[in-house]
Symmetry: C2
Subunit: 129 residues, 2 copies
DNA sequence: TTGCAATCTCTACAAATGTAGAGTAGTCTC
DNA sequence: GAGACTACTCTACATTTGTAGAGATTGCAA
């Protein structure tokens, strides 16, 4: 089975995050969360969730007439899909130039840079093995 | 004037890259590039390019009946738009977790890690000032 | 049993995005 | 001038994504 591509739309992100935070949960639960964040109506949310089921992003379990939703894409999978899409589009698939771009953005504090440096050292040590 | 948000669609990326590589250029030039890459017909490309003009991503200059296109978004602006969209969607707007995620991806060689480490040190030194 | 709340289903529409063919217009060469 | 070539214009359609109201169904409490 081919590796599934997880490239979520803006609305799908909002929904899957709400599901991650509440799963297993019913559609009205997700709708309440997104009513506050986006002002979405129940039928909006339900429609999109059912589409996400069709797309393999969510899965359902029926208990009597209640439908419980669970995510079928992990947070890491979704994040990877988003990151790799950005890398592919904006940096022709090259991870390092994108990291350099982010470092050059000037939005990282000295502390954050220090943390990243430590992480890189750890990474290098492991890569040495 | 508010800062424009540059979040390009998949097709827009393909087109703007071709324009960057050839500007100023006419639509048929872009189409030839994308015919090879995507199999797109002239009218497909022209339509999308004109929509991009409406969206402020490209601009035109008419010389007799020939229309020359130029990008109205720089590579850096477009890259920033893509990166920040990914950060916002997948990491709730936090740059550092995304960089950590990328470091954890295991796709960087020891050499690349070393280069990044050097860059971070430079960045830290500058941030100290 | 009835009424109400909760949830689901059905259906619809709009905008954005992707895709393209047919027709028109201008220029250049013969 | 005619024809060929190049580029533009006009128009259309499909899919995807976003958005939602109205109606139907089920379960529980009174």
């Amino acid at each position: 089975m081919a590796k599934k591509k997880h490239e979520l739309t803006e609305a799908e992100w909002a929904i899957v995050k709400a599901v991650w935070d509440n799963e297993p949960c019913a559609a009205p639960t997700v709708q309440e969360v997104l009513e506050k964040q986006k002002g979405w109506a129940y039928s909006t949310v339900k429609t999109m969730m059912d589409r996400m089921v069709s797309k393999g992003l969510l899965k359902t379990e029926r208990i009597r007439n209640l439908i419980l939703y669970r995510s079928d894409v992990t947070k890491k999978e979704a994040q990877k899909g988003e990151v790799m899409r950005a890398v592919k589009r904006a940096f022709d698939g090259a991870l390092t130039p994108m990291m350099q771009f982010m470092l050059d953005s000037g939005e990282l504090s000295k502390k954050q840079l220090g943390e990243l440096e430590s992480m890189i050292k750890n990474r290098k040590a492991k890569a040495k093995k």
